[in-house]
């Protein structure tokens, strides 16, 4: 019960994933630490970004060489603030020869890195028409999720809190609300700061979580990757097991009857 191999495969478009923990590759001290953390996390899907080659160091080791071979690479459109930019980065990713899976980010604010909902919806429609498998980073909005689904999105990635903030999932009920309104997978992305946050997302009904900063900048990234994996599995099984309802008053766990006469 404590391995990804024992839970159902998650299908996103035509891609199938064993692991419910997706991991970002940014901010690691070294590629070797990153590789060890990816292995420890048990992930099968890792995000990457597209940026200019440093022409002064053209033979820098490429990140793709440090990604375990079991992983699918998910390019993002991070840093794009318009529909046109995001579409072109998606095209570039596809031209790089790693398939047509894309994590769509169309941002609306450079301080919050908050998604632009209208641009995200527009770019989703466009990229779906072009045959991309679109995983859309969105604000945690059930109505927007429904619009994205109707646009043909393949996975909805609501943020928990701002990217890299580690604030956790500020309104976990939104995860449940989105999950109950769409049929496509829901992946909580952004803001997860600790294993507790990852477990909470899974308990709330997320199909998977995406974690980057919380692993990469942990004091021990490899240990944190292990912990995140355990948390995702705990949250998954916790949801399957069916938690008790919350009550206002106490319910004794020990029998009320048969209490011995004790005391004066």
């Amino acid at each position: 019960m404590f391995a990804f191999s024992e839970i159902p495969i998650l299908q996103i478009g035509s891609y199938r994933f064993r692991s419910r923990l997706f991991v970002g590759t940014g901010k690691y001290d070294t590629l070797d630490t990153m590789r060890q953390a990816l292995e420890a996390s048990g992930t099968h899907l890792v995000t990457v970004a597209l940026r200019r080659v440093n022409l002064k160091k053209p033979d820098e080791p490429t990140i793709l060489d440090a990604i375990p071979s079991a992983c699918t690479v998910l390019p993002n459109t991070a840093g794009c603030y318009t529909v046109e930019e995001a579409i072109q980065v998606a095209h570039l990713a596809r031209a790089s020869g790693i398939g047509s899976l894309i994590k769509l980010e169309v941002l609306g604010d450079s301080d919050l890195l908050w998604p632009d909902p209208i641009g995200t919806l527009e770019a989703t429609k466009h990229l779906v028409r072009e045959g991309f498998t679109v995983m859309a980073y969105t604000s945690p909005d059930p109505i927007l999720a429904d619009h994205l689904q109707r646009a043909g999105v393949h996975a909805i990635m609501p943020l928990g809190s701002p990217i890299g903030s580690g604030q956790g999932i500020l309104d976990v009920r939104q995860v449940s609300r989105i999950k109950s309104r769409v049929n496509v997978p829901v992946v909580v992305d952004a803001g997860i700061g600790s294993p507790a946050d990852a477990a909470m997302a899974m308990e709330a009904g997320a199909d998977a979580v995406l974690v980057n900063t919380a692993i990469a900048l942990a004091r021990d990234p490899v240990m944190m990757a292990h912990a995140m994996k355990s948390a995702v599995l705990a949250g998954y099984w916790g949801r399957q097991a069916g938690r008790i309802p919350k009550r206002e008053d106490a319910r004794a766990s020990s029998p009320r009857s048969g209490m011995p006469h004790v005391g004066p």
Partner: protein, 66 residues
């Protein structure tokens, strides 16, 4: 010839194709994507795609990201 490569204005020896440009900078072809004057250049035509003076070229690769 004069090119703008990754945002930097560059004087460089005459070259004919995107493939030559990558070779000039010592960039491995299989690790990058290229945009020439706003258009994506498919990897399999790097060796045929002509570069002319004044062109703006972006050479892109995958890096760590979330």
């Amino acid at each position: 010839m004069k090119l703008t490569v990754n945002g930097e204005f560059t004087h460089m020896p005459d070259i004919a194709t995107v493939g030559d440009l990558l070779d000039h900078f010592g960039v491995q072809h299989q690790a990058v994507a290229v945009i020439a004057n706003g258009n994506i250049v498919a990897r399999d035509v790097f060796r045929q795609f002509t570069v002319q003076t004044g062109d703006t070229i972006e050479i892109i690769r995958f890096v760590g990201g979330g």
